[in-house]
Assembly symmetry: C2
Homo-oligomer: 201 residues x 2
């Protein structure tokens, strides 16, 4: 029987999602779990319950940029902000679901490569071109992915994934489920670790 | 020379502020610091930058109640929600500043007793009566405090404290400064501990 997954919901435009993505596989492996990668759009949350990107909110925005840099320094991960930020990540999300097919634990390499392009190198992954360049670097068939990004089936699949995330109560990035227990925020990884070690409390 | 303080900003209606208040003195003492208690009103933040109490926000509200209870269980602190919640805490704040006078590290007993009344016992500290009852239990002169709560000087003092908090960039509860380094959230106490141990990074 396959072990249970850690369900990792994130927005590609989220620096906290990036920081957590750089740590989540190691944490999952420690507890004999695999990561189920679940990219979605925080914009869908804002449409549903209001809100806007954290870095755009007065006071919270300034704090958050400082905090993101502080968190990155502590874990020794580079952090650069792409020139256009926050950015739309529809193409990146669709690429991940296309590569996953029926296996949500697949495409981890693509997720982390896309995140690194955006937040370690400050590159552009908002366009299909940006996504295709990263995918090609991993040996993914550029022409096939390019075509897939335009197909109704993958657009529909992604729409369903976003709806399913919201229906499950996901509203942030990162947002992690350990079985049915939800954890919001990259600063909750230590609690996720304790939760897994103790089997909850 | 007095050691530097940990400046602890909080709203009395904030369960995360309560959970942090139950832990902050031990953390401060570990690093040879005193806590400067800084009650203020999140309502002033909402007026300035928008927003509303976390528990009232769709999706986030449900998550937060679950998370507050989970955090309380983990640290072994009782958590009950007062019948009226979120509640106005002007009287509680004024009482603290009145008791402090010129010493922001004073009135810790009053702060924690008020918080326990609200969130350990589910009592009412939104009214002057509720605050006076808690203060009296600590041996504070009820008549003197009752009079003070109506005095223009303490009202003005509290107004200035709230303005000073916002001017410093405070927008949440708890919100802690280690010297000039800001930390938002009760889930950042471990990071505050590391920051103090390492002198920053």
């Amino acid at each position: 029987m396959a072990s249970a997954t850690l369900d990792f919901y994130f927005d590609f435009s989220s620096p906290y999602g990036y920081l957590a993505a750089m740590q989540i596989e190691k944490l999952a492996a420690k507890h004999d779990r695999k990561v189920a990668w679940k990219p979605y759009l925080l914009g869908a949350v804002y449409q549903k319950i209001g809100g806007e990107p954290l870095v755009n909110v007065p006071m919270k925005g300034e704090y958050s940029r400082r905090d993101m840099e502080r968190c990155a320094r502590e874990i020794g991960v580079p952090l650069t902000f792409p020139p256009a930020f926050p950015f739309a990540s529809v193409a990146a999300c669709r690429a991940v679901y296309w590569q996953q097919g029926d296996d949500p634990t697949a495409a981890g390499d693509l997720v982390t490569a896309l995140y690194r392009k955006a937040f370690a190198e400050g590159g552009d992954i908002s366009s299909a071109e940006g996504v295709l360049a990263v995918a090609e670097g991993l040996g993914i068939d550029r022409a096939a992915l390019s075509q897939a990004l335009q197909e109704p089936a993958i657009k529909q699949r992604f729409k369903q994934e976003v709806e399913a995330a919201l229906a499950r109560g996901v509203f942030g990035s990162p947002f992690i489920f350990v079985d049915d227990e939800p954890f919001w925020g990259s600063d909750r990884l230590e609690m996720v670790d304790r939760w897994l070690s103790r089997g909850g409390w």
